[in-house]
Symmetry: C2
Subunit: 200 residues, 2 copies
């Protein structure tokens, strides 16, 4: 960022005129660790009101990796997703193992799900799943110049297959709303924007 | 879609070679309606294995509206988000009221949060929040040629302010990972793609 750019935009999350809520009490309603903890928070709003029963969810963080081969093909996983109740397309993704670094997790998931290693890695940001509830964070990556080094072996419950599609097809699927998961739509859009900036 | 395009891509979610899981039993673990219901599913995988304790979440659907004025400014809401524990920027958004049509909800949220009405509406798709857990759906919209007709009055718990930013600034915030919520990243990316297609 250069000095003459408007700081108010990039520092919007640090501006001090909107005060945070204060958590007065946090009651664990359901503990289904490591997958889910449900809390009921009592929070004090900046205007003095106290709100009871505000639901907050703790779920594990996960990585999403958009893999691109040197020829421009993008790798996607087809599998049944129980949260949709249907087969869906998504980039390789998976939960972090405990205390695992996000880039190490991204490399592990890429290898497990596609059998590939990448020459270059770019971070596409970290995003909370629910602005209201929490629900864990998605850490997004672009994996560049992927090469197959072994067979996929995901270890996931889902039967799955890897397909590699041209960028234009992925762009069309994305704009036509064909990806069923919100984190896929976020990751694919950011990956396409990054790839476009890097194209000659 | 023309006849010579590859059908396997667009119909990927209908392909029959990957079989759905079968829910054998669904036990309600926590009922905090209307905000959250937690279920523990017993599911049968296509390979015959039976999995116990697969967590599924029911949360209300919501709409996200990316509003654009005739001069190209995009409207965003600044507010504290308890799921992040920080102030964040996001488009106008809100939960559906019971049985509410998604477009009607989108018009209501736009009016409540920005005081605007739009000349044109485009759907940017519907996306499940969690491919594994469910957690409700986000219905995304682009609201075109927005005009201020009244003062904002969101009725939300959060203090909030509306800011209108040029498309290029929003694009930069998006690619730099400055939006903290995954559904915001999805909605902004899809809106920018649509606006770009419509530019001369």
């Amino acid at each position: 960022m250069t000095m003459d750019e408007p700081h108010f935009v990039l520092e919007s999350r640090k501006m001090s005129d909107l005060k945070p809520w204060k958590t007065l009490r946090s009651k664990l309603l359901l503990d289904h660790s490591p997958w889910l903890r449900v809390y009921e928070d009592q929070v004090a709003l900046p205007d003095g009101r106290v709100i009871d029963g505000y639901i907050r969810l703790e779920e594990p963080d996960f990585v999403i990796v958009v893999p691109v081969q040197a020829d421009g093909l993008i790798g996607l996983i087809r599998s049944y997703k129980h949260g949709i109740g249907a087969v869906d397309l998504q980039p390789p993704a998976g939960y972090l193992e405990s205390d695992e670094d996000t880039l190490i997790a991204a490399k592990r998931e890429l290898l497990e799900e596609t059998g590939c290693e990448a020459e270059g890695w770019e971070k596409l940001g970290s995003y909370v799943i629910s602005g209201n509830r929490g629900s864990g964070w998605a850490h997004l990556f672009l994996a560049i110049d992927c090469k197959q080094v072994t067979q996929p072996d995901s270890g996931d419950l889902e039967e799955q297959e890897v397909i590699w599609l041209p960028i234009d097809d992925v762009h069309r699927l994305w704009t036509e709303g064909e990806f069923g998961q919100v984190s896929t739509a976020a990751a694919i859009g950011l990956a396409l924007a990054r790839l476009k900036m890097e194209l000659p």
